[in-house]
């Protein structure tokens, strides 16, 4: 009976005592007073704005009741795009960026109306238009040094407005002063008609520029296409064709425009294959299907072609399960395999969203993997595990510590069979959780705050201390992983791409206590999660293999969507720090990448729901390696007795002494081996 009364009232009734009531209670028991006139309208002047960038203006606001009488009520102003147009509490508006924006003026609900409510009394939207700044300059961006009759050039403009911004949203007009010499259409296609001089005009808004051009008589007598191989090549092999354009005297014709194309006939039995090959502007050809392919170089007045015989790549291997270290009661995260101080081989695996365990395995005999120890720390996730090059200490990262200090834990694994000892904990300024770590030359690289990595001196692993830190300065920068090789740290920075930093081996004076940025790759997808630096044994080129992590379906379908990954492997040639070039990809449909490793021109990828993927990355690469049949093997670890039965979700791979170890999120550690494939025709690309 008393339960609907408040605490003190119930107690008072129960005891008959006469303690004073709290003011809130007394108010609650009074009849509700007439709230009086309420705001019904807010008149903002001006009701809509058009401002130039940099302009300022003050809004006037008048609140009226239902009878149209003015009221003295507070008005709250804000902007729905505050980085484009700002408004302060006094209603002073400032225009920052072009576009269509909205300001809000609202009158809060009656402050004495204490009932639950969601909306203010009155709200009005004030449209704000800030036009783009006028175009300042427009110029032709790509005019070659020589122009020849009978050819075409696709012109591109560079448009800059008065703020200095390069614009791509402005309509551009093209014209030629003498169409009998050259014409240019609305798309900027310049057609060179006859020898002579004319002036090209490009215009945008009120700006324009003139460019005088001279069209030369076309001297071309011959175009040849070299580079065709005498022997058949395999799908995925890159053939570099070279076109030579010469005049009647056999001299090369400079700046002559050429276009490459390819067509072909697939091998018998390949029906409806889709595109079967590609050729780039540089003449690099690669086939996705076996057959007879033709590469054409088109020089408008002349052309040439060459034929290539392509056979199936035929690198497929089968995967044999050699041994297992099952973890069935909690999820597994990363792994590291190493040769111990005692000469035996060991592996460590972490755990995810569990209770802070790391498992240590003896993998000397991969067919008889044995669990030799577990270490448990105050954490929910031990996401990353790494072991020093000398095999003496191990670093495990902590997330979800009960005291929220997280950081990392260092373990002595120098005498692992006789016990693993915690020799240090380090959480100074790493309290937000360490997601990934790396150990190189007595230093620990530890991710911090999802923003940067701290570099700890671990010459004495019982007493690590911070010596350096690297962090980008780009807006909203973020980091996921770091890997160190030959004195250069490569971090994975989502949409900032892969960042190379000299920490002693980059030749730019860098050191752990003085990290110096060398360069970065572009990464338009924004999904860069892992990176593996590798110098190709077959080409000598320095490659950067970037891996995505992406769950776009989750974003589309909401948090209840099944976990389904996306993303692919990006392959860059990166011999000059300022000119990385993405040349190829490996993309498995309907699956998404995680961690990776490269050894002996073979790429090992943990492809989450796609299992383990083993890919041939020997030689030059172009295009989509998956479609070219470069996949050597795939393996999905099924286990019916785990926390999530028969749900492969491979987290990390590591080749080691002829075997492949993988950590599977739902089933633990696996030791695998590649064996000759059964002669089963799977069709191309397999």
């Amino acid at each position: 009976m008393l339960e609907h009364l408040n605490l003190r009232t119930r107690l008072l009734i129960a005891t008959g005592l006469t303690l004073g009531l709290a003011p809130g209670l007394a108010l609650a028991q009074e009849e509700e007073a007439d709230p009086g006139p309420q705001p019904a309208e807010i008149i903002v002047t001006p009701s809509e704005l058009e401002l130039e960038v940099g302009d300022s203006l003050t809004l006037e606001a008048e609140v009226r009741d239902g009878d149209g009488n003015p009221m003295d009520r507070q008005v709250v102003f804000y902007s729905r795009r505050r980085r484009a147009v700002g408004v302060n509490p006094a209603g002073i508006v400032e225009a920052y960026r072009p576009g269509e924006h909205t300001l809000i003026a609202m009158v809060p609900k009656d402050p004495e109306d204490l009932h639950r409510r969601a909306e203010p009394a009155v709200t009005v939207e004030i449209p704000v238009t800030i036009p783009n700044p006028p175009v300042a300059t427009v110029e032709v961006a790509n005019l070659p040094g020589h122009l020849y009759t009978g050819t075409e050039i696709g012109l591109r403009p560079t448009v800059t407005d008065i703020s200095g911004a390069v614009r791509h949203d402005v309509e551009v007009g093209w014209s030629s002063a003498d169409p009998s010499v050259a014409t240019v259409d609305s798309l900027g296609t310049l057609t060179l008609v006859r020898a002579g001089r004319t002036t090209l005009t490009v215009s945008a808004e009120a700006a324009s520029s003139d460019t005088a051009i001279e069209v030369l008589a076309n001297p071309v007598a011959s175009i040849t296409l070299g580079g065709a191989p005498d022997e058949p090549v395999r799908t995925g092999d890159v053939v570099f064709f070279e076109a030579k354009v010469t005049d009647a005297s056999g001299n090369a014709v400079p700046d002559y425009p050429l276009q490459f194309a390819t067509l072909g006939v697939p091998a018998d039995g390949i029906v409806a294959p889709g595109a079967i090959a590609q050729v780039g502007d540089d003449g690099a050809f690669v086939a996705e299907r076996s057959g007879t392919h033709t590469v054409i170089v088109d020089g408008f007045t002349h052309s040439a072609s060459a034929t290539v015989a392509v056979v199936s790549r035929n690198v497929r291997k089968d995967v044999e399960v050699v041994g297992r270290g099952p973890v069935r009661d909690r999820r597994t995260s990363d792994l590291w395999v190493w040769e111990g101080v005692d000469g035996r081989d060991y592996a460590v695996t972490g755990t995810h969203s569990a209770d802070g365990h790391a498992y240590f395995w003896d993998v000397t005999d991969p067919s008889a993997i044995s669990l030799i120890d577990t270490v448990r720390v105050d954490a929910r996730t031990v996401n990353d595990v790494k072991v020093s090059e000398d095999g003496k200490f191990c670093v495990i990262s902590r997330e979800g510590a009960s005291n929220r200090k997280n950081g990392l834990v260092i373990l002595d694994v120098s005498d692992i069979r006789n016990g693993i000892e915690v020799i240090a904990r380090y959480d100074d300024q790493l309290t937000g959780g360490v997601h990934n770590v790396f150990i190189a030359e007595d230093h620990i690289y530890a991710l911090s705050a999802g923003r940067r990595y701290d570099i700890l001196n671990a010459e004495d692993p019982t007493n690590p201390y911070r010596v350096g830190r690297f962090e980008l300065d780009t807006p909203g920068h973020s980091i996921h992983d770091v890997w160190v090789a030959d004195g250069i740290a490569y971090s994975s920075n989502w949409n900032d791409g892969i960042v190379a930093v000299d920490v002693g081996g980059g030749g730019m004076g860098g050191a752990p206590n003085n990290p110096v940025m060398l360069g970065s790759t572009p990464y338009p997808s924004g999904w860069n999660h892992a990176a593996y630096p590798y110098r190709s044994k077959s080409t000598g080129k320095f490659l950067m293999i970037g891996g995505d992590e992406a769950f776009p379906y989750q974003l589309m379908e909401g948090p209840r969507a099944r976990r389904r990954a996306a993303g692919w492997i990006h392959i860059f040639e990166w011999d000059e720090w300022d000119s990385p070039r993405e040349v190829a990809r490996y993309q498995v449909p309907e699956a998404g990448t995680h961690n990776l490793w490269v050894e002996d021109d073979v790429l090992y990828i943990a492809y989450y729901n796609g299992g383990l993927r083993v890919v041939d990355i020997s030689g030059e690469m172009r295009g989509d390696l998956y479609r070219q049949g470069r996949e050597i093997a795939s393996f999905r670890p099924y286990d019916p007795e785990t926390v999530k039965p028969n749900s492969p979700f491979v987290w990390g791979p590591q080749p080691f002494k002829g075997h492949i170890y993988i950590a599977d999120n739902t089933s633990g550690l696996w030791a695998l081996k590649l064996v000759d494939a059964e002669p089963v025709n799977l069709g191309e690309p397999h």
Partner: protein, 376 residues
């Protein structure tokens, strides 16, 4: 002033503290006759749990997976309900790198949208007079740098303002009028009062012991990092009907009563060594304060008229975190994080007797909790 922590049994302590005859409080709690609904965050499982406590017991009605990256622990931390009870808002601490607040419909728990905010968005509250949401960006990532409070228009889920506040802001509760927000800056030892209509700090109150600091309205940026925090405040309550805000001193294991009119500490309650109050909640009449003692594995029930500790019952699991009080002031509902792989636990206490009357396990690291509604 400080008060000695009572050693009396819980029920008798309450009786003595309120000057009551033993009759009422010595009885066993009456069973609930209404249903009480709460949402609870499991920070290390990326789930939110909808729970109902009532005549049929304590039940889990729904488990809502949250976040966008199923392979990362994104950390749902703070949760709150729109003033009309139609929506719930959830802060997700970790992102790339910024966290977010997500909006859901109550009951159906349908996801409606989100907005990216600052580093480690945590506690939040909605102004009942404007519908604007205020979210503190806790940023516990090591470096002690000033952070912000984000202001979000909840209809569109657009961040419309950020308010510079201090180092590690935590706790965010509005006054009843919805024009003032109270929050603390953990590593600045500060309570701040936010003018929720002008999107600016109205007043600062230094709670620490540095004799050269603590001037209301001082420029935080001049002092940040120059003094070691002592109080390490982690929570500020909504104002009581008598105009008091209570602050959890996690660092010095005390609870501070701040008089809003005088903008000064009017009382200081010593929670006892090692208790480390973390979250606080008041009954609607402001007569009883319930505190979670994060390190102490206890709760504190305080009678605010006398300033005496009524009881400090031990919780069933470690790391007490959040606390809410039902709308009829009958129950305090408390989250317990647990450690490592332990599940989180939600406990219900009968406030009149301070007895634990029910508990239920949820996902790991149960933290943020919000009371949704009570119904027959």
């Amino acid at each position: 002033m400080s008060f000695r922590r009572s050693r009396l049994p819980a029920a008798s302590a309450l009786v003595l503290a309120l000057g009551l005859a033993p009759l009422a409080a010595a009885e066993d709690p009456e069973p609930p006759r209404r249903n009480y609904f709460v949402y609870v965050c499991a920070e290390s499982d990326d789930t939110v749990h909808l729970l109902r406590f009532g005549p049929s017991g304590f039940e889990e009605l729904d488990v809502i997976p949250v976040g966008s990256f199923p392979t990362e622990t994104e950390g749902p931390h703070g949760i709150n309900i729109s003033p009309d009870g139609s929506y719930w808002f959830l802060s997700i601490a970790h992102g790339m790198p910024f966290g977010a607040v997500h909006k859901y419909e109550t009951g159906t728990n349908e996801w409606l949208g989100d907005v990216t905010l600052g580093l480690f968005p945590a506690t939040m509250d909605v102004s009942p007079s404007t519908g604007l949401l205020y979210v503190v960006n806790f940023n516990l990532h090591g470096d002690h740098v000033p952070s912000t409070i984000s202001v979000v228009e909840t209809g569109t889920m657009i961040e419309v303002a950020t308010i510079d506040t201090g180092v590690m802001p935590h706790g965010a509760r509005m006054n009843a009028k919805g024009d003032r927000l109270y929050s603390v800056n953990m590593m600045d030892d500060e309570l701040v009062e936010v003018d929720a209509m002008r999107f600016e700090i109205a007043r600062r109150l230094y709670l620490g012991t540095d004799p050269h600091a603590g001037h209301a309205g001082m420029d935080h940026g001049d002092m940040g990092g120059m003094r070691a925090p002592v109080v390490k405040p982690t929570w500020a309550t909504k104002p009581s009907p008598s105009g008091k805000v209570y602050v959890a001193g996690n660092g010095d294991s005390a609870i501070y009563e701040v008089d809003l009119e005088g903008w000064e500490v009017s009382r200081r309650f010593d929670a006892g060594p090692g208790e480390n109050p973390y979250n606080l909640e008041l009954t609607s009449d402001g007569s009883v304060l319930v505190a979670t003692y994060k390190s102490g594995k206890k709760l504190g029930f305080w009678d605010l008229a006398s300033g005496e500790l009524i009881a400090a019952p031990e919780t069933t699991r470690r790391v007490p975190h959040g606390v809410v009080v039902s709308d009829d002031d009958r129950y305090a509902i408390v989250t317990l994080e647990g450690v490592g792989g332990e599940p989180g636990t939600v406990e219900v206490y009968d406030i009149a007797t301070t007895q634990r009357v029910s508990e239920i396990d949820v996902g790991k690291q149960a933290g943020g909790i919000i009371y949704w509604k009570g119904e027959p």
